[in-house]
Symmetry: C2
Subunit: 260 residues, 2 copies
């Protein structure tokens, strides 16, 4: 397919590369910053443009990969071309597009992207929604050329998915940062915790996380929990996080199975 990319951030960068690697033709990359547009365009053999008026009509789909709150503003400028328009956001409904055009869909890659970190796009769950069945099928087909994990997800589900990702990714990373801070204060390198973090994530490849919960709260080990809270004295924020998460674990824990 001939694809136009709106945006030059992390999602745009990884999607453009995935499209190109799958044999599609990335026609143009747009960014209000023409330098950024040109840089990404260069990497995927496309033309960089700095104005939406320069969009080439010789394209099949316009993929909008920009900040959530900028999506609504940009859509009217894309309508004159009469092409299929999709956005790539987890938090924005399909309606943000269908309010303007029926030729619309969502093409949401459920992953955390950094420009500087390569990843295997074939594993990225692609969440697809089309304004009608024909569009949905078309997007599914396109998604399957770049990923082995393609799901049909409606707008309500996608919002839940995005919320879940905040818990599983953003909040999780913050807990890594909290741990890093505690070690630093006591002259220990974060390297000491890296194997544990990787193993914790690795475990859920084959297990439901609820069934492999471990630690003082899962064991209802009041003594250790109290000792930990005492160690956090003067750090009310961390005490609160400790208490709240421990209470939630206790509330949700079934019979411990002996893992430690």
């Amino acid at each position: 397919m001939r694809i136009t990319i709106i945006g030059s951030g992390n999602v745009a960068t990884h999607l453009a590369a995935a499209f190109k690697n799958a044999g599609h033709r990335v026609v143009q990359v747009y960014s209000p910053n023409i330098h950024n547009a040109a840089l990404l365009a260069y990497h995927v053999g496309a033309d960089g443009i700095g104005s939406l008026k320069d969009i080439n009509v010789e394209t099949d789909i316009i993929v909008v990969a920009i900040k959530d709150d900028a999506i609504k503003e940009i859509i009217p400028s894309l309508l004159p071309y009469g092409k299929l328009v999709v956005h790539t956001s987890g938090a924005v409904g399909l309606q943000a597009l269908t309010d303007h055009t029926a030729n619309a869909g969502v093409f949401y890659p459920l992953q955390t992207f950094s420009k500087t970190k390569e990843l295997n796009f074939g594993d990225v769950p692609m969440c697809i929604e089309g304004a009608d069945e024909t569009i949905t099928k078309q997007l599914e087909e396109l998604a399957r050329t770049i990923s082995n994990n393609v799901y049909r997800v409606n707008s309500a589900q996608r919002k839940i998915l995005h919320l879940s990702a905040v818990f599983a990714c953003n909040f999780t990373n913050h807990l890594y940062a909290v741990a890093e801070g505690l070690l630093k204060e006591h002259d220990m390198p974060f390297d000491m915790l890296r194997p544990l973090i990787l193993e914790t994530a690795d475990k859920i490849k084959a297990h439901s996380p609820a069934t492999v919960q471990t630690g003082p709260a899962a064991r209802k080990d009041e003594q250790t929990m109290q000792a930990h809270l005492n160690m956090l004295e003067g750090r009310e924020d961390l005490q609160q996080i400790y208490l709240l998460l421990s209470q939630d674990i206790i509330k949700n824990s079934n019979v411990p199975h002996g893992d430690k």
Copy 2:
């Protein structure tokens, strides 16, 4: 070395296997449940015993790998043999042993273990503390035969390490479980989140987590955070966790660097 293992749980199981693989001789495995003792003993070519009175004096070190609150009780029964005694707990001080004997140390593997999941023990950080320099060196030497990550860690540091591990491992896994629950309620499989979870952990192999924080809180995106809180209406526990972690991210966030 000739090694006696007290316990037959997850830590005992993985340590015994690591010792055997490194060419040490596991002499005996003790468990009050002789069946459990015999099973682990069988796997590592040792004898299983169900009574502490049957400990063979032909050993060099007694490794106590049992529940934290059982350590103090069991130590007196091990003293008559006059051997080096170490425990493997992150939360228990060295003093729990040195109150009884100067021939003591700590041999703490900082990892989450399941009996049913193999792992590469060479990566497991081994945290060592001896009652004196000779013992510390001896334990370091032993640790290096089974792991490439050996650290000297005193009792105060080890407690912090254990606390940090609760944040980075136990609490993290609970957040995975929260996400799993949200997806389930909306008919989506947890499989959809697995790649994101693995990538989130993978990212910190090369980065400090504080520097790669992403998500609505890191972007100070009030609109998305409010939408998420609304979606969690009726789930006060999750709303509280969402608020508290978001506030802590906002408080600790420096300039966002554009990752999404």
